[in-house]
């Protein structure tokens, strides 16, 4: 596989992860349980959407066909999206949202940290900013997971339900293929499979305090990286892309 093709594919994967999770988190705006959280969630959403923008812009440059961030975000179909299944999962209750955030950030923080040493200067630059944002997401989501897991009977039940529902999407985080292998060999991107031990440690630290347990997953769900998504992504995109689809080329 050509390094350039692999780089473009990786940028779309990372950009899609950030955009889709950023959009999901932004859906809480105006609906959070308390005002403080109603500001914290959009803050986190904006961190992710900011990362998506720089990744898409760079993807457009690497591709060299004149596509920019808006084209990549608004004019691709669900099958062209390369995001993890985890990030497109619906918000569910507050427990689901916080656990999804923790799972993702606990992976991305070490990922970006290693990416800071990338031979690709643009990616290293993006990583340097993103790693701090992800460190805060771990802390914010982790503290909530602890309080809900070790909270009331109801919050503990909801937290345990979230663990049951979302743990089948963990394995996909660490998947490798031609794209990741090519970029690891070129010194451009870290090997996702090498981050499992650190992810396990982070989750274990939170789960011990939260009195939660990671279940054994017999049938992990994958497919997002090759464009096979749940139907929920289609609904998300129909809302996200509505304006550009209805008024093509609209700017404001």
């Amino acid at each position: 596989m050509q390094t350039r093709d692999a780089l473009l594919e990786l940028l779309l994967r990372l950009g899609d992860d950030c955009l889709i999770l950023g959009h999901r988190v932004s859906e809480w705006c105006g609906h959070a349980p308390i005002l403080e959280e109603d500001m914290a969630l959009p803050n986190m959403g904006l961190d992710l959407i900011g990362q998506a923008r720089t990744l898409y812009t760079y993807a457009g440059e690497v591709e060299g066909k004149g596509r920019g961030e808006d084209d990549l975000a608004y004019l691709r179909t669900d099958r062209e999206y390369r995001n993890l299944l985890l990030v497109e999962r619906p918000n569910g209750d507050f427990a689901h949202t916080m656990l999804r955030q923790l799972y993702f950030a606990a992976f991305m923080e070490p990922y970006w940290r290693k990416m800071c040493a990338s031979k690709d200067e643009t990616l290293a630059g993006i990583a340097g900013k993103a790693v701090k944002e992800m460190a805060y997401h771990i802390r914010h989501a982790g503290e909530w997971v602890i309080r809900m897991g070790d909270g009331t009977e109801e919050s503990a039940r909801r937290m345990a339900d979230a663990v049951d529902a979302l743990s089948i999407y963990i394995d996909e985080l660490f998947q490798t293929d031609d794209v990741t292998d090519t970029l690891v060999a070129a010194g451009i991107a870290p090997d996702p499979s090498g981050l499992r031990a650190e992810w396990d440690r982070t989750i274990d630290m939170v789960f011990t305090e939260a009195r939660l347990k990671l279940p054994d997953v017999s049938y992990p769900q994958t497919g997002g990286r090759s464009g096979l998504h749940g139907e929920e992504l289609g609904h998300l995109l129909s809302e996200l892309q509505y304006m550009q689809r209805t008024y093509p080329g609209m700017k404001w």
């Binding site: 349980p33 403080e36 500001m39």
Partner: protein
């Protein structure tokens, strides 16, 4: 957001932010939170979104002892007639600049 904020489980905290090194923390508002860790997080999320600070303090609101507004006259009125406490009777040398 729900109409009733659960204030019993999430008491009020006063938030103080230091805008830059060398300046004092200044009171900037309050947040509701279950404990001090979440209060710090909430303060960060609500009050430092535009680069307002380099350090945050949170203090339980009920730990603050306030003066009684009814005592305003006896507390503060007597100083009104003691203008000699203001440093306005000195000539400040020009080299000192603004004080």
């Amino acid at each position: 957001m729900t109409a009733e904020a659960p204030t019993k489980d999430t008491p009020l905290w006063e938030v103080f932010i230091r805008p830059r090194n060398g300046l004092a923390h200044r009171h900037c508002g309050s947040v509701h939170a279950a404990d001090e860790v979440l209060a710090l997080q909430a303060a960060r999320d609500v009050y430092t979104r535009r680069g307002e600070g380099v350090s945050i303090w949170v203090v339980p609101s009920n730990a603050i002892t306030a003066s009684d507004p009814l005592n305003k006259d006896e507390n503060f009125e007597p100083t009104a007639s003691k203008i000699y406490r203001h440093p306005t009777f000195y000539e400040i040398p020009e080299e000192v600049g603004n004080m």
